[in-house]
């Protein structure tokens, strides 16, 4: 048995107007100060005001939401007792909302004790809505909650399938203001989700569909959205690609690009999309060098995206890797860890910690060629130098 879930999705122009259809009395908004400052939270609260739903904003979510912040949110939501919890923002805000809604019904629970096999029944009290302002983490269509243990500088993959949002709203007005750098960072996240979801050993034909379509759309529309943030078609297609990527990897599993990228992001505090996108081509090369099944899947992606049509799977897979690097260069993304401005000595010092974190991610266990410590060390070092993986 395996399962697939996704939210009810309202998308396209004026999608925020879907809020007029919800039933409720009180909404607790989980977001960050930047979203409030940009006026994006007000676009949502205006809709709530129109239907007389009282609201309260918790805007303390930081870029890598911590256990401490979620606990604070849990106290606030407990006092407010809403019947909707709405995450507005990037993955951080949406994931924090997923944890906070559990604390609404379990104020006694420590966030790091949220267990996949437990049932919290928070829908007896409130529903969960996700409104992304990036394209994106796909968190609007996943049940995972990625929090950060700030004491150990480690990302924690928590969550339960109950945390799949009830509603996701993709309104282009929420993303058109994204500056190019954030467009690029979050766009690489979409690509990584889509590709890793498609090749995941936990994937099936149900998760393949969203993954491969998201990949094609990301290649086509990310450069356009990066160069012209006002290109509405590009913005909408990237929103769609983001949620499709979420549906793919969220119902299968992410891969090595994520486990290595998570490790780098946790220790060096770099944006998630930038790090996973950086490691994607290196980890793909690692799998191409030792996993025929995955190479064949990469080749399927390459052919579907019209990147290559060679009869050799390996040639097509390598063409896909080259295309990813070319896209990264086009949108100003780093091609190596060195490009991120990380000092070599500090990076070398961090290698044992990077390896430990990457080794202990589920995503590392679920690929077709599972690296041990030695190979992970080599991947991290090659990625620092920008050297293609040749082992």
């Amino acid at each position: 048995m395996w399962t697939f879930s996704c939210p009810f999705i309202a998308y396209g122009d004026n999608a925020l107007e879907y809020i007029a259809q919800i039933q409720g009395k009180k909404a607790f908004i989980v977001t960050d100060k930047n979203i409030v400052k940009l006026g994006l939270a007000k676009l949502v609260t205006d809709q709530l005001d129109a239907i007389n739903i009282k609201w309260q904003i918790f805007d303390e979510v930081e870029p890598e939401p911590s256990l401490g912040t979620v606990k604070k949110g849990g106290l606030a939501v407990g006092k407010f007792q809403p019947d909707w919890v709405i995450g507005i923002g990037g993955g951080s805000c949406m994931d924090a909302a997923k944890a906070i809604i559990i604390l609404l019904v379990r104020p006694d629970l420590e966030p790091d004790c949220i267990i996949a096999s437990d049932t919290y029944n928070f829908r007896a009290k409130a529903r969960l809505m996700a409104i992304p302002t990036t394209s994106g983490t796909g968190a609007e269509a996943t049940w995972a909650i990625v929090l950060t243990d700030t004491k150990e500088n480690r990302k924690l993959g928590l969550g339960t399938t109950e945390c799949m949002p009830d509603v996701a709203i993709l309104d282009p007005v929420m993303v058109t203001g994204m500056p190019p750098l954030i467009t690029a960072d979050t766009g690489m996240d979409v690509l990584t989700h889509a590709i890793e979801g498609y090749v995941s050993t936990w994937g099936t034909s149900i998760t393949d569909g969203p993954g491969i379509v998201a990949t094609r759309k990301a290649f086509e529309y990310l450069p356009k959205a990066y160069k012209n943030g006002g290109d509405l078609e590009a913005r909408k297609e990237m929103q769609n690609a983001a949620i499709l990527g979420g549906m793919s990897f969220g119902n299968s599993m992410a891969g090595l690009g994520h486990s290595t990228g998570h490790a780098l992001g946790a220790i060096f505090h770099l944006p998630h999309g930038r790090t996973v996108g950086l490691f994607l081509p290196y980890t793909m090369e690692y799998l191409i060098n030792g996993a025929e099944d995955t190479t064949a899947k990469y080749a399927e992606i390459a052919r579907y995206c019209r990147i290559a049509s060679a009869s050799s799977d390996k040639e097509c897979a390598k063409a896909l890797v080259a295309k990813i690097r070319s896209l990264a260069k086009e949108i100003g993304q780093p091609l190596s860890v060195k490009d991120c401005g990380i000092d070599n000595a500090k990076y070398e010092e961090a290698i044992p910690g990077l390896i430990d974190r990457a080794l202990n991610e589920v995503m590392t266990m679920t690929v077709t060629r599972v690296p041990g410590e030695e190979d992970l060390g080599k991947i991290f070092r090659y990625a620092y130098e920008g050297k293609n993986i040749d082992f």
Partner: protein, 135 residues
Amino acid sequence: MAKFFTQEWGDLYKEAINSNKAYEEAAKTWEGDFYFIMEHGGPIKETAYTYIDLYHGKCRKIELVTDPSKYKPEFTMTAPYSVWKRIATKELDPIKSMITRQAKLSGNMAKIMRYVKAANELTTSTTQVPTEWLD
């Protein structure tokens, strides 16, 4: 060969864990104990409790207990026989078993998630035990 979830099986499993170098390395800082609980149903007449004490890369004890109040382990993992069998034969990933609620875990999930590699090796060790299945 030993019947699954008996003390004899547990003794063989302990040997398998303690011979697993990959486990030893991955779990070198682990401290924590478990009840593996097999719910009654199917071939299982009564709920069975196996206590497992894992410390710094080694298994210190595996004990089939009749009185669950004997230990208060940090973690419990509960599932019916059919699910335990699928996990033990690597037909079902234990993380997947929890996501789909076929198995239930209690305890600090974040701690388990820091030792995913070790958890994976514990499952690998079960495949090293010559097992007589109960169905």
